[in-house]
């Protein structure tokens, strides 16, 4: 509504014959004189894109959520294939609720589960481990060398004697803390996965796999046995499950928006039409995405909501205009054309403002956010056709309910005639802010909140703050299972991997290991690091092992023959086939930003000192390493994005208003809202992360609409010589109503996300709802208050 001009009132034309079909702009004539063709065209487009939309896929591709061109991630991607220990592994813990695992019934359950899991598609069967896997053995040192056997002996028969044998074997298996919990109340079935199913060559369908695991969980859980499952595959499976629930929120958003609109207009037919047009926009968007090669991910899946809600608010504007004209007695086609004339340019400017807000997100070097930006921009572009063109054309056929039209007209006349502003206490209340002392009060309060928010926002954290899988809620089944694993097994869910590149076959040189050992020692000094592991540490353990288990030999052997003997038995996750890549694992207490930063800095300064062409010390892989890189990018992007989005909004506002005073009135409330949003994030313990980055850009981009709606009308009235109070009151009646409607509609629609099982969607929902509502309040309260100090009729004329 940025270009609402004080147009000369159009003549009321009740009979279509009196209307000059050749009047209006070229676009208007082109569109309205070919109404039927346009409708048919839109119908065909909808059918075509609707068909295309069937091919739209939901995905949670891991690579799209990380900043792929950050040097750390580039290092990770470059070495990814050789990082065997990256561990796409499912861990299924079977817990004995009563007693210990040395129980015939318990072991039988584990055996059955083991056998069923073994047959799941995608399982890397030779590497599967559990108490029942033949690969899991005990070893003991004897006078003649090593002795050993499977942990569950071949002659196991469930008798107390064989259970005692199992206990002894477990104790000397070295699997305590790995496959068996130290308290002997649970054991793990470790299921390594292959990217592709060996039999068919297809990629693993994580969702299907996750469902199969859930079936097994249902089958084997009882009052004696609990099952806990963790692993990347399960996270993805749960995420995709969560995405399907998003459809429910979509339904809720439709119902809420429709309800609010109907309450506002009391005209069923046009309400349904606005909903239909907004839905068409969503269909077009969903059809265009696969056509252009995009898919929906957990982030962009929220865009259709936004598009729908924005469409509703613009549709409401069109409807409002037509209703007023029809109420005055204008023919429905003419009314539609008048509205198009008045509002097409204005609507387009507002939508372009939204698009700028989205487009700014393109600077963030994380593909999901760029995809979100593209998706949202497409959605907004589509709205120009569906809600600015198609909607008025459809309304020109259907018209509006006469009763509702009369009601609208009555209200308008009443408000216009009500010079004392008595009739409408709410508008009258808002009008108070154009005068002293309320204006001063509002500005003082606004600035105080801004300063307070700013102080709090300095505590804003980067990254995730909860343990476990940050994508899911802390109390989700997955994160409870994860907590069980962390409590019972020597496994941290936050793994930071440093990659060490050496010349070929040099990975096990003593000098290489000495460097690795020194790095490990530095990492161990950090309070956030629980343990570390590497080939250097393994060499010490192996050296002791090769000397009859005597700990006195716990040192890296200098002899290359010894080292070579050690690496032939070393697990593959420590080094690669070519022996030119070593991995140093740091298991972290958590993935808080401070912890990650301390590790990053330690590795960087170590690399700066000891790195060379011969031994390149590279950050970073592992979930914690990737998160560290993401945090670095997010932190930088947060500042960049704020600068860009405000620069864009200021330019846009200046172009529209041509007055820097008006720009201040429009932009300062937005800034205060942004600062308060950051304070809210501190209060709710939400960090700046991939999911919350777009919130402020979206909030500001859409929020500036409100200021544009209100300020343009106010400025126009001021130019006509009205006092600020009168001008503002007129603006409230003309566009303010729709601002309130839009703020509430958008706010409620995004607030429903708060119930999403996916944590970052919930965070986005809460923050966006806050941004939308506070920006609305800012435009209605702080804007007139600032105008009181900055905008006087004389100054407007001078400008």
């Amino acid at each position: 509504m940025s270009h609402v001009q004080s147009l000369p009132a159009e003549a009321v034309i009740a009979d279509l014959k009196e209307f000059d079909q050749r009047s209006g702009t070229l676009a208007e004539r082109l569109l309205f004189n070919n109404r039927l063709a346009i409708v048919v065209l839109c119908l065909l487009t909808t059918l075509l894109l609707g068909y295309q939309a069937l091919g739209l896929s939901l995905n949670a591709a891991f690579e799209k959520m990380i900043p792929t061109s950050h040097p750390y991630i580039a290092n990770f991607l470059e070495n990814r294939k050789q990082l065997a220990g990256m561990g796409n592994t499912l861990r299924i813990a079977v817990e004995a609720k009563e007693g210990t695992i040395f129980d015939a019934e318990y072991l039988d359950t584990v055996r059955k589960l083991n056998d069923e899991v073994f047959l799941l598609p995608g399982v890397d069967r030779p590497y599967m481990k559990s108490l029942w896997a033949p690969a899991v053995r005990w070893t003991g040192v004897t006078e003649d060398g090593l002795d050993g056997g499977p942990v569950i002996p071949d002659d196991y028969d469930g008798s107390p004697e064989s259970l005692e044998q199992v206990r002894i074997n477990v104790e000397r298996s070295g699997e305590i803390g790995q496959l068996v919990a130290a308290n002997y109340r649970s054991s793990i079935v470790l299921v390594p996965l292959q990217e592709r199913i060996a039999e068919t060559g297809e990629r693993i369908d994580y969702h299907a796999l996750s469902q199969r695991i859930e079936e097994l969980r249902g089958k084997y859980e009882s009052d004696k046995v609990a099952i806990h499952v963790t692993g990347f595959a399960k996270v993805v499976g749960d995420l995709i499950d969560g995405l399907r629930q998003v459809l429910l929120f979509f339904a809720a958003a439709i119902v809420i928006c429709t309800g609010v609109l109907y309450w506002y207009t009391r005209c069923l037919r046009s309400t349904l039409l606005v909903v239909a047009c907004s839905m068409i926009a969503v269909v077009w968007l969903l059809g265009l995405l696969p056509t252009l090669g995009y898919e929906l991910d957990p982030y962009s899946v929220l865009v259709p909501f936004l598009v729908f809600a924005i469409g509703m608010s613009h549709g409401a504007q069109k409807m409002n205009g037509i209703m007023q004209d029809v109420g005055r007695g204008t023919h429905k086609l003419v009314a539609a054309r008048y509205t198009f004339r008045r509002l097409f340019l204005a609507g387009m400017t507002a939508l372009l403002a939204d698009a700028v807000g989205f487009a700014v997100l393109m600077v963030i070097d994380i593909q999901v956010i760029q995809d979100l930006a593209v998706t949202a921009s497409i959605g907004v572009a589509v709205l120009i056709f569906t809600n600015l063109v198609l909607l008025p054309i459809l309304l020109s056929y259907t018209g509006v309910s006469p009763v509702a039209a009369q009601r609208s007209l009555r209200a308008e006349l009443q408000e216009a005639g009500d010079t004392e502003h008595r009739k409408h206490p709410f508008w009258a209340f808002l009008d108070l802010f154009t005068r002293t002392p309320w204006a001063g009060l509002a500005v003082a309060l606004g600035l105080a909140m801004g300063v307070f928010g700013l102080m709090v926002s300095f505590q804003l954290k980067i990254g995730d703050t909860d343990p476990g899988a940050p994508e899911l809620r802390a109390d989700s089944r997955y994160n409870q299972d994860n907590a069980f694993m962390v409590a019972n097994y020597a496994a941290s869910s936050d793994v930071y991997i440093v990659m060490i590149r050496t010349p070929q076959y040099a990975c096990a040189h003593y000098s290489t290991l000495r460097t690795v050992d020194a790095l490990e020692r530095e990492l161990q000094q950090l309070p956030g690091v629980e343990t570390t592991s590497s080939l250097a540490g393994l060499a010490k353990v192996a050296n002791a092992g090769m000397n009859e288990g005597s700990l006195k030999w716990f040192e890296m052997p200098r002899s290359q023959d010894m080292l070579n003997a050690i690496i032939t038995r070393a697990p593959r996750e420590m080094f690669n086939q070519n022996c030119d890549l070593l991995t140093v694992y740091a298991y972290l207490k958590d993935h808080k930003a401070d912890t990650l930063t301390s590790v990053v800095n330690t590795v960087e300064s170590f690399a700066a000192q000891y790195g060379s062409e011969e031994i390149r010390i590279l950050n970073a892989a592992g979930n914690a390493g990737i998160e560290a890189a993401t945090n670095i990018v997010v932190k930088k992007a947060n500042v960049q994005m704020l600068l860009l989005v405000y620069a864009a909004v200021i330019v846009l506002a200046f172009v529209t208003f041509r007055s820097w005073r008006a720009v201040i009135c429009a932009v300062v409330p937005l800034m205060i809202t942004s600062v308060l949003c950051e304070a809210l994030m501190v209060w709710l313990n939400i960090g700046v992360k991939v999911a919350t980055l777009p919130v402020i850009a979206l909030g500001v981009g859409i929020g500036v609409d409100y200021a544009l709606y209100v300020m343009t009308v106010t400025l126009a009235r001021l130019k006509e010589g009205m006092s600020l109070s009168e001008a503002y009151y007129k603006a409230l009646i003309f566009t303010g109503k729709v601002v309130v409607l839009t703020g509430i509609t958008l706010g409620i629609a995004v607030a429903t996300w708060a119930w999403s099982p996916i944590k970052f969607q919930a965070d986005m929902g809460i923050l966006l709802a806050f941004m939308f509502v506070w920006n609305m309040l800012g435009a209605l309260i702080l804007l007139p208050a600032l105008a009181h100090f900055l905008l006087r009729p004389r100054q407007v004329v001078a400008a």
């Binding site: 104790e171 995009y294 393109m362 000094q525 009859e548």
Partner: protein, 377 residues
């Protein structure tokens, strides 16, 4: 996964919009410095020192001194209740044993053939010997014996030449000093040296010990002029003349002894792999196996001031004998797995070194017992 997307276009668009900010990530700087050899790298002050692997613990007056991985030396002045790191240790190799001749003068040995000495009760340490120097000492001695025409000296010289060529890659595993001047160190592949000047100079004992196959020597015990060395493949060597000559004691066990104790009352107790503890009451002529219940490796042993004998096994069991090593009972304490050394604090508490650092067992726990085993006759 996803269909081919116009990635290039999007990347270009993103790049174009980046005009405001540059994309400089942290650079991968490369200083090219070498991490110093562990023999030249002073032990680092570490927040984890107290929980790191400790391989031996001993008394220096009333003070307790423990040594372990990465050149860590820990000191306690309150009978093992709290520990702090020594001020300066010049190496970062794992230290395997420590012994003090007096409250002030002590020695520690470790990997890379290192011998460290302290003259201030363990606060600061100086390097006296490393593996290369030790190998040269042994080679020079072998050369001298060849020149003197000793039998078998030629073979000894050949293996000594290998020792020198190998460099400092062999650990010392045991150290004992009689006084502030006279001491002995033993180690892997039959390494054995002595000093009579407090470590200023060292002499080879390799020629005196009948160990032609170079079995690892895990421990040396010293009592006046009487020396007892325990090692691989059931090896026990004894000297009664302060190391001038050694005799092999034949044992009925072919596995490794990690230690041997000369108990008051002339009994010998050797302990090692898989729960093997053997006792001889006649100076090593005949041996009896001591039954300990579990085939778990015995990693440390000590005779306490009250005359009782303690053994520790790899699972963390502590076994005590009050009859000169004939019968042992497990104590009802679990100080942690991977025990490596036992010391007795001034207040009678037991101080145990192990895989997770040091632990203190209160004196009254010695009275507790959970099971009794007997000597297998």
């Amino acid at each position: 996964m996803h269909a081919p997307t116009p990635l290039h276009r999007r990347t270009a668009l993103a790049a174009a919009m980046l005009s405001l900010a540059c994309l400089a990530g942290p650079s991968q700087a490369a200083g090219g410095a070498k991490v110093a050899d562990l023999l030249d790298l002073p032990a680092r002050e570490s927040v984890r020192a107290q929980h790191s692997l400790q391989l031996a613990v001993t008394r220096a007056g009333d003070r307790l001194v423990a040594v372990g991985e990465r050149g860590t030396v820990l000191l306690s002045d309150d009978a093992g209740r709290s520990w702090r790191q020594a001020k300066s240790v010049p190496v970062s190799v794992a230290l395997t044993d420590v012994h003090f001749a007096s409250a002030s003068h002590g020695w520690a040995v470790g990997h890379s053939g290192v011998v460290l000495a302290s003259s201030d009760g363990g606060e600061t340490w100086q390097r006296q010997l490393d593996g290369s120097q030790a190998a040269e000492v042994i080679r020079d001695d072998a050369k001298r014996r060849v020149e003197a025409g000793e039998a078998g000296a030629a073979a000894a010289l050949r293996s000594a030449e290998y020792l020198v060529a190998d460099g400092p890659d062999k650990p010392f595993l045991g150290v004992r000093f009689v006084d502030e001047l006279r001491g002995y160190v033993v180690g892997a592949y039959g390494l054995a040296l002595q000093t009579v000047d407090g470590g200023k100079s060292w002499q080879s004992l390799v020629g005196q010990i009948p160990n032609p196959r170079g079995k690892h020597l895990y421990q040396i015990q010293v009592d006046g002029r009487s020396l007892l060395i325990a090692g691989e493949q059931g090896a026990l060597f004894r000297s009664v003349d302060g190391g001038a000559s050694f005799a092999e004691i034949r044992t009925p066990y072919a596995g490794t002894f990690f230690g041997a104790l000369e108990l008051h009352g002339e009994a010998l107790l050797a302990y090692g792999l898989r729960g093997n503890a053997w006792r001889s009451a006649d100076g090593g002529v005949s041996w009896q196996r001591v039954e300990l219940g579990q085939p778990l490796t015995l990693s440390a042993g000590r005779q306490l001031r009250d005359g009782s004998v303690l053994l520790a096994d790899e699972s963390g069991r502590l076994l005590r004998s009050t009859d000169g090593g004939q019968h042992f009972a497990a104590l009802a304490v679990q100080p942690g797995t991977g025990l490596t050394g036992i010391a007795e604090a001034a207040d009678g508490a037991l101080i145990l070194s192990g895989a997770r650092g040091l632990s203190r067992v209160e004196p009254d726990a010695l009275a507790s017992r959970v099971q009794v085993s007997g000597v297998q006759q």
